[in-house]
């Protein structure tokens, strides 16, 4: 096997995931939250591919491709929502958008 150990890839994946998570929890702009969500997904993808490489099994890579497809669709929906919100001149701040409170 060439290249660095699987552990390193997992560490990078973990860092990516943590960064994304922090972004989701701490940022106020919906666009940034969406972006962070994408980073989390990519972190997961990396971990999947790393494990696939470690097991010598292609299932992980196929799973990663599926995740990418789902991520793309979800981004479309999310960006569509944000554009709609901007058009209505709503404040793009998640703390202000609370119409669905119980």
């Amino acid at each position: 096997m060439n290249g660095p150990d699987v552990t390193w890839y997992l560490a990078v994946a973990g860092v990516l995931f943590a960064t994304g998570a922090l972004g989701v929890l701490l940022r106020r702009s919906p666009l940034i939250v969406l972006l962070s969500l994408e980073i989390m997904l990519n972190g997961a993808n990396l971990a999947l591919i790393a494990f696939a490489r470690q097991q010598g099994d292609l299932d992980g890579q196929i799973f990663a491709l599926a995740v990418m497809a789902v991520a793309a669709s979800e981004v479309v929906v999310g960006l569509g929502l944000i554009v709609a919100m901007a058009r209505r001149r709503l404040v793009l701040d998640v703390d202000e958008l609370t119409t669905l409170r119980g």
Binding site: V24, L25, V94, D95, L97, T98, L100, R101, G102
Partner: protein, 634 residues
């Protein structure tokens, strides 16, 4: 014999059903004829039974016939059965015989009424119920007849149902009788529990095995029913009010038959009562009290029917007295003669009322002696029989009871005897007070204005039965002349032979008979004399005696007592519960549940903050917890 019994019972029912179902299809007069006919058929059947039984002896005189199983549970079997024996035949003869006369009388009396058909249906129903009562072969069927009699009474008292007073009287009668029904039912529960049967014959056989408490309670329950049905003190207040019903109703139900059912019950169940001597003494005592109290109240009544009603109460007191001391045959004898002369009095009074277009207040009457001579004679005969002057029937029957009381020999018997004598005095006074007020003197203004006698004193349908009853009142006493011949006592002997030793009831000696008769007749004549002085010759003014008069006029405040003790509390409880229990229960319970649910929802809803970041945090935290759980479990 059993076929005759069933015909006797079912003929009046058939009549009632026919009248009800055919309704307006038959003319009104036909309804009356159907009713009279059906009761007459019952009488004929009773006569057949009587003749058949006469030809037999002892045990053979009793026959039980069962149609089918009415109710059976476990060991308890109650059949729809009739018991034909001398006692029930005697009652059936009285009920159907006097009944047919009175129903015939009603054809004339009710001729002007719109709802004649309904009246005759009810009358036939009543006769059926009464026959069911007296022919019953076990306690439950007797109770069924008992209840149906009360129902018919309610229907007939409230016949003129546009009158609130009639409806109130009907309800009162029914409810007081229902109280009696309830006590009887309790007695039956106890009887079933202890003996496992309600058949007369079987139950009486098992009486010996019962403890005295049980027997006393059972007898007490039966006595309660008897007192209610026979309007004895203290369950008597319904009877005077029952005079709201048409006069034939008063004659049939409240003089001759229904109110005598209590006496019949005591005589029928005499083995039970003899095993509970204190209750039997109580029965005699209540009878004596009623004799006196009813007699006193009758002295101040102004309604002609009420006088006769209180007189009935008083006379039934004599019958209770007789049954209470074990002189059953004498009690039944008086029942029979009383049926004759009391019905006679009521029907004759009815002729007067009918002629005066419904007026019943005696103070408006007077001087009818010359205007209605035949009615006067009839009422005079009835009155003399009631007071008990020889040779009319009442003399023989009443004096036999008094003589039996004297013959018991103990203090209690003497007290009863004295009460009976005092009652005879009162009877003389109030009866002839009534007769003198109504018939002697000059015709009052009211009479001159309203009396219509162009077509004779009354229609033929009314005068004929009165004549028959008058004849019976005169000769009815012939079936039993104390000390000389007693076919009636012999006839009833097989069932009502009291255990002579335990009751210490001996036949009155000839001396006692004579003493009783002289004293009783003397008391009666004294009463008549007093009435003559005050009301006949008008030589002496009626004593004022306000202190005594007022309570008597208010009927000793029994009505007020019952209202206060029973009616108002019932209404109060009902109202109180509706407001304080039902209201909160219905409204409160559901609103409580609804409110609690809403509150819970609101509480849980607080988790939905609407903040995106809260939800995200929740996801992250949940994930962290799960991860830790997985790791630690591993």
């Amino acid at each position: 014999m059993s076929i005759a019994a069933w015909i006797c019972l079912l003929a009046p029912l058939g009549g009632a059903l026919a009248i009800t179902l055919l309704g307006e299809l038959v003319p009104r007069r036909i309804a009356g004829l159907v009713a009279t006919g059906s009761v007459a058929v019952a009488f004929a059947a009773a006569v057949v039974l009587f003749v058949t039984v006469l030809g037999r002896d002892g045990e053979e005189r009793q026959e039980l016939t069962t149609a089918w199983n009415w109710l059976s549970v476990g060991d308890l079997d109650v059949g729809l059965s009739l018991l034909v024996d001398p006692l029930s035949i005697m009652m059936a003869l009285i009920v159907a015989g006097v009944g047919s006369l009175i129903v015939a009388y009603s054809i004339g009396y009710m001729a002007a009424d719109d709802e004649e058909r309904r009246f005759f249906a009810y009358m036939a129903l009543f006769v059926f119920s009464m026959l069911l009562l007296v022919l019953a072969g076990n306690f439950l069927i007797l109770l069924a007849g008992w209840g149906l009699v009360g129902l018919s009474s309610y229907l007939l008292i409230g016949f003129h149902h546009e009158r609130p007073s009639a409806i109130a009287a009907a309800k009162k009668a029914f409810i007081m009788n229902a109280v009696g029904d309830a006590t009887m039912a309790l007695a039956f529960f106890l009887l079933v529990y202890e003996t496992g049967t309600l058949d007369f014959v079987t139950a009486f056989e098992r009486v010996d095995g019962l403890s005295s408490t049980v027997v006393n309670l059972v007898a007490l329950g039966l006595l309660g029913g008897a007192v209610a049905k026979s309007a004895q003190i203290p369950l008597h207040t319904w009877l005077p009010d029952a005079m709201e019903g048409p006069t034939p109703v008063s004659a049939l139900i409240h003089a001759a038959t229904m109110v005598t059912a209590g006496v019949y019950l005591i005589v029928r169940a005499h083995p039970l009562f003899e095993a509970a001597p204190s209750v039997q003494d109580l029965a005699a005592g209540l009878g004596a009290v009623t004799i006196v109290v009813a007699g006193l109240i009758a002295l101040v009544q102004t309604d002609i029917k009420r006088v006769i009603a209180y007189s009935t109460m008083s006379q039934i007191g004599y019958m209770f007295l007789a049954a209470g001391i074990g002189a059953y045959a004498n009690g039944m004898f008086h029942l029979m003669t009383h049926a004759f002369f009391k019905a006679l009095l009521f029907l004759a009074a009815g002729v007067v009322i009918h002629a005066l277009v419904g007026e019943q207040d005696m103070r408006k009457m007077g001087g009818l002696r010359r205007l209605m001579p035949r009615t006067w004679i009839a009422m005079l005969i009835g009155g003399l029989a009631l007071v008990g002057l020889p040779p009319l029937s009442g003399f023989f029957s009443k004096d036999s009871i008094l003589a039996s009381a004297l013959a018991t020999g103990d203090t209690y018997g003497y007290v009863l005897f004295a009460a009976g004598l005092f009652g005879a005095l009162l009877t003389g006074i109030y009866t002839f007070r009534m007769l003198f007020i109504v018939f002697t003197g000059e015709p009052s203004g009211f009479v001159r204005e309203h009396l219509h006698t162009e077509h004779g004193e009354g229609p033929r349908w009314m005068t004929a039965p009165v004549a028959v009853l008058a004849a019976l009142a005169v000769v009815g006493g012939a079936v039993q002349i104390a000390g000389i011949w007693h076919p009636l006592a012999d006839f009833l002997d097989s069932i009502v032979a009291a255990d002579r030793e335990s009751l210490a009831l001996v036949e009155p000696t000839v001396t006692q008979d004579w003493v009783t008769s002289i004293l009783a007749v003397g008391a009666g004549l004294l009463g008549i004399g007093v009435a003559w002085l005050i009301y006949g010759a008008r030589r002496v003014a009626a004593p004022r005696m306000v202190a005594l008069r007022n309570p008597l006029e208010r009927k000793l405040y029994f009505d007020e007592l019952y209202q206060t003790v029973f009616y108002y509390p019932a209404v109060g409880i009902a109202r109180g519960w509706t407001r304080f229990v039902e209201g909160p229960l219905i409204g409160g319970s559901i609103s409580g549940v609804a409110g609690a649910t809403r509150g819970l929802g609101r509480g849980v809803g607080q988790a939905q903050t609407g903040f995106l970041r809260t939800y995200a945090l929740a996801i992250a935290a949940g994930l962290a917890v799960l991860a830790m759980v997985f790791v630690s479990v591993r």
